[in-house]
Symmetry: C2
Subunit: 162 residues, 2 copies
DNA sequence: TTGGCTGAGTCTGTCAAGCGGACTTATCCT
DNA sequence: AGGATAAGTCCGCTTGACAGACTCAGCCAA
């Protein structure tokens, strides 16, 4: 069973959706930045201090996230101060919520703290806790074990490296 | 509206579930490794070639994932070869499926390829496409915009740095 | 009008990590 | 004995992270 070649070996990883997504998110700091924005912290200094990011790295990550369309700069002005910019999630950024929630859910299960979770995603309307579920188009809600990743229409055969 | 201090500023990031989860997953290569395991590729060389990871980095990441309990080593023997080890997901590893699926879903929406997706998560039983949905305990299925991350029982007040 | 404060950066030197390529080890087959 | 192969280890180079100092623009108070 373990000896036969897995089907995936026939397919290229070149255009894989996960790779392409990780080119945007796959970095130690990017998720910390996103977390701050998701909890409502939007200003450079606040993000930097709370997330503990080196300034230079934060500058660079914010620029990258803006360029990728996950954030936009938004002017604001505190009374008696000059105009500055804060960073806000675009719709594309907001739509990462399921990823965040899935990560929180996993962390709560496998890295639990005594006394419960420090952060909880909640439905604004009703206040109940929000979680993420897998669901197929036929309406089933499969366990992880019942899901398989299959090639789609643009799967490319793998260049046969010897 | 944007001037008032966001509630999150009162809370420490120190024990945040996202941070703790990112300490395990938050690395350029870890998700690539997990992807290979999720699609069924389990052997060192296969993972290395498909994911394009430097050997040394792969060695180190596999060890870390084993130590964190997401993988285990499993002996196998090809006919006419000596015994070797392959890497398999534990239940903890498998339970990252929602994170993976959420990332694929986001990528398919915001980084689409002409002609459709290269990989598709499917329900093994019925073959239908699997996606991830947000759901609250009252049974609503909120949009991203209707979800908020709130402090939980172990939220810690932030040490007031001046 | 000068001087200080503040948020949001930029600059600089150090040091760890990633990287490709060569080398190693253990076992099997011929 | 010689060769093949999977799974590493070793080496030197380069890239990026990092801490800490410096800059810049606009506002305020004296």
């Amino acid at each position: 069973m373990s000896a036969q070649v897995p089907e995936a070996m026939n397919w290229s990883t070149e255009n894989c959706t996960i790779s392409r997504t990780m080119q945007i998110l796959g970095d130690k700091w990017t998720f910390h930045v996103l977390r701050e924005l998701f909890v409502g912290v939007r200003r450079f200094e606040d993000i930097r201090v709370r997330a503990g990011i080196p300034r230079q790295v934060l500058t660079e990550r914010l620029a990258a996230l803006i360029e990728r369309g996950l954030l936009r700069r938004h002017p604001y002005r505190l009374p008696g101060q000059r105009e500055r910019y804060e960073y806000r999630l675009t719709q594309a950024g907001l739509d990462l919520y399921p990823v965040l929630v899935a990560m929180i859910q996993w962390g709560d299960q496998y890295l639990p703290l005594d006394g419960g979770p420090p952060i909880v995603p909640r439905h604004r309307d009703c206040g109940e806790q929000v979680s993420v579920v897998l669901r197929c188009e036929a309406g089933h809600e499969p366990e992880a074990r019942e899901v398989a990743i299959r090639p789609g229409p643009t799967a490319k055969p793998r260049p046969l490296a010897s």
